[in-house]
């Protein structure tokens, strides 16, 4: 019994090594092996065996070989009797100085004409010299929730804004609210630390709009992110609050899909281009809802 087990174990080990061998063998060999394996034909069970082929006789033209018949050039044969000489050029050999000229005129390998492009000047000069610091997540000792409500409703929308481009004014579509816009919130609860009120109820908290992506066709909603929440205490110190609000509008994509499925037999496939024109909903941050961010120390 033990012996059988041992043999089985050995077999298992060899079996496990097979992929290693396959990988270690060079690719060409395996390709050739695959090629030969492909060429191999296996006789079917019930097919009659073919008679052994007769040995081919030597110097016997093959039946299938196609040979082009030789056409004799009679005009050339007539010229053979004449003593004709090949014209040869006896003049001076032209000097090939192009390489020397090229060496003189062309620039060296590394001295190609480098025209350096300059980038557009940064408009927001105030922020151009302030390097955004990498975010470092600290492990907080105390975490308390700060409930907020915005003072006004903020919703996404796309507007066409007139921009002075050279001679003409052009209109460009721009998503609103703008990135960097301040949004005003009010605190709904007292936030305490060690028995002291750090952020009183009704205090002003400000956030900035981080990212806005407008709604699009196919029932796709708009999305908006508010980040960098901060609060100013009595002494004017800025206290940073952790967290962000990401708001998304309603999506019609699922419903469009269902309606497409249901109406395809009746509209013969026309439902898809018709319904996919519909956009999704606008992202809204509204005073009807309560939002939460975190005060961490």
């Amino acid at each position: 019994m033990k012996k059988i087990l041992c043999y089985l174990l050995l077999l298992f080990v060899f079996f496990m090594q097979m992929p290693v061998w396959a990988a270690s063998s060079p690719q060409k060999k395996s390709y050739q092996r695959a090629k030969t394996a492909y060429k191999k034909t296996y006789p079917k069970k019930n097919t009659p065996k073919k008679a052994p082929a007769k040995p081919k006789e030597e110097n016997q033209p093959k039946e299938d070989d196609f040979q082009i018949p030789l056409i004799e050039d009679t005009a050339a044969e007539a010229l053979l009797d004449r003593d004709l000489e090949k014209n040869s050029y006896n003049g001076p050999e032209p000097e090939d100085d192009s390489s020397d000229l090229l060496l003189k005129t062309s620039a060296s390998k590394y001295d190609y004409n480098k025209t350096q492009e300059e980038d557009e000047p940064v408009v927001d000069a105030r922020r151009a010299d302030v390097k955004p610091a990498a975010k470092r997540v600290k492990i907080p000792k105390n975490v308390s929730v700060v409930y907020l409500k915005p003072v006004k409703k903020v919703s996404t929308r796309c507007k066409r804004v007139k921009v002075d481009v050279g001679e003409k004014n052009q209109k460009f579509s721009m998503p609103f609210p703008l990135i960097g816009q301040t949004v005003h919130f009010k605190v709904l609860n007292n936030v305490e630390e060690n028995g002291n009120i750090v952020i009183p109820k009704g205090a002003d908290v400000y956030a900035t709009v981080g990212e806005v992506s407008p709604r699009a066709m196919g029932g796709v909603p708009a999305e908006m992110t508010l980040e960098k929440f901060y609060f100013k205490d009595k002494n004017g110190n800025i206290i940073e609050l952790d967290g962000e609000i990401s708001s998304s509008g309603y999506t019609l994509a699922v419903w469009i899909g269902l309606v497409e499925l249901a109406t395809t037999p009746f509209l013969i496939g026309f439902a898809a281009p018709l319904l996919r024109v519909l956009p999704g909903g606008q992202a809204i941050v509204t005073p009807r809802k309560t939002y939460a961010v975190y005060y961490k120390t």
């Binding site: 012996k3 041992c6 174990l9 080990v13 090594q17 290693v20 061998w21 990988a23 063998s25 492009e117 980038d119 557009e120 000047p121 940064v122 408009v123 927001d124 922020r127 390097k131 955004p132 990498a134 975010k135 470092r136 997540v137 003072v151 006004k152 409703k153 929308r157 507007k159 804004v161 007139k162 921009v163 002075d164 481009v165 721009m174 609103f176 609210p177 990135i179 960097g180 816009q181 301040t182 009010k186 109820k201 009704g202 002003d204 400000y206 981080g210 990212e211 699009a216 196919g218 029932g219 796709v220 909603p221 999305e223 999506t251 994509a253 699922v254 899909g257 996919r276 005073p287 009807r288």
Partner: protein
């Protein structure tokens, strides 16, 4: 006795035979790259406080691709893409972009359906989100522009890009515009300005960059207006006046921008500044 003897032989063989497999990719390069990938991936996750599990895997196949897989929650970095990468910023940029896309995928079934219906929008969103991730993790987001200038294709409008994908140049301009708006420091102090790849981007995007600058000027004018409104409201609603706060359904008054040209805006802002010095 036999059993022990054979186990020893089997172990010996298993070790020995693996060492014969010279072409098996156990080379230290792959190990180093896998470690590098893990290090960069977790740095991005931790610095952006992403509380999701993501599996990072370095694949040795020659695909020029970095891809996220939703069902296995993994991000696979294929070795073929390494030919195009020159520094850490570019390496992190590709991972950050896939991370941003996978975060959208994991938002819920409604979001996933939306993404399948209009992938063009979420493509740009992931690119822009990747810029945020890179900045938070301490990388230079301009790396995303340079690596995409090498990697992205420019399919024709009626080819694969129609309704499905953006052109490479459009995506790069969208990233540039976002950096220009939100992190202008990296444009003003650009480490990549003299590199051939970035120079090529500058040459091929003159008009778009000019447009981007003009739009940013307009945005700044408008921002000054809105943010000054909020500054005013600071005085209106003090802490004691909390009872007065119940401003339901009040929209921001965006005004009629279409009537504003740049000159009118400038006059308007100057007036505001004179009124509120």
């Amino acid at each position: 006795m036999y059993l022990r003897f054979f186990i020893i032989i089997a172990l010996f063989l298993s070790v020995g035979l693996i060492s014969f497999g010279a072409d098996v990719p156990l080379a230290c390069d792959v190990d180093v790259m896998q470690k590098k990938l893990l290090e960069t991936g977790f740095r991005l996750l931790n610095s952006n406080d992403i509380q999701k599990h993501v599996f990072f895997y370095y694949d040795i196949s020659d695909k020029i691709q970095v891809q996220q897989y939703f069902y296995t929650k993994k991000i696979v970095f294929y070795q073929g893409a390494m030919k195009f990468i020159e520094n850490d910023d570019e390496f992190a940029a590709l991972i950050a972009r896939e991370l941003a896309y996978s975060m959208d995928m994991r938002f819920g079934i409604f979001r996933r359906t939306s993404m399948s219906y209009n992938p063009r929008k979420y493509e740009l969103k992931a690119d822009r989100r990747a810029v945020d991730y890179l900045v938070n993790a301490g990388y230079n987001p301009v790396g995303l522009i340079t690596v995409y200038n090498k990697l992205l294709a420019e399919p024709s409008a009626f080819g694969e890009s129609f309704f499905v994908k953006h052109k490479g140049s459009e995506r790069i301009m969208s990233i540039y515009d976002y950096i220009y708006q939100k992190y202008p420091y990296f444009i003003a102090h650009n480490e990549y300005l003299r590199t051939p790849v970035y120079q090529n981007f500058l040459k091929t995007s003159k008009k778009e960059r000019k447009k981007s600058r003009l739009l940013q000027q307009t945005r700044l004018e408008l921002l000054r207006k809105y943010n000054s409104d909020v500054e005013k409201s600071k005085n209106e609603y003090s802490i004691s006046d909390f009872s007065m706060y119940n401003m339901y359904n009040q929209d921001y008054d965006y005004g009629d921008y279409e009537s504003y040209g740049l000159e009118e805006l400038e006059n308007f802002v100057n007036l505001l500044e004179e009124e509120n010095p």
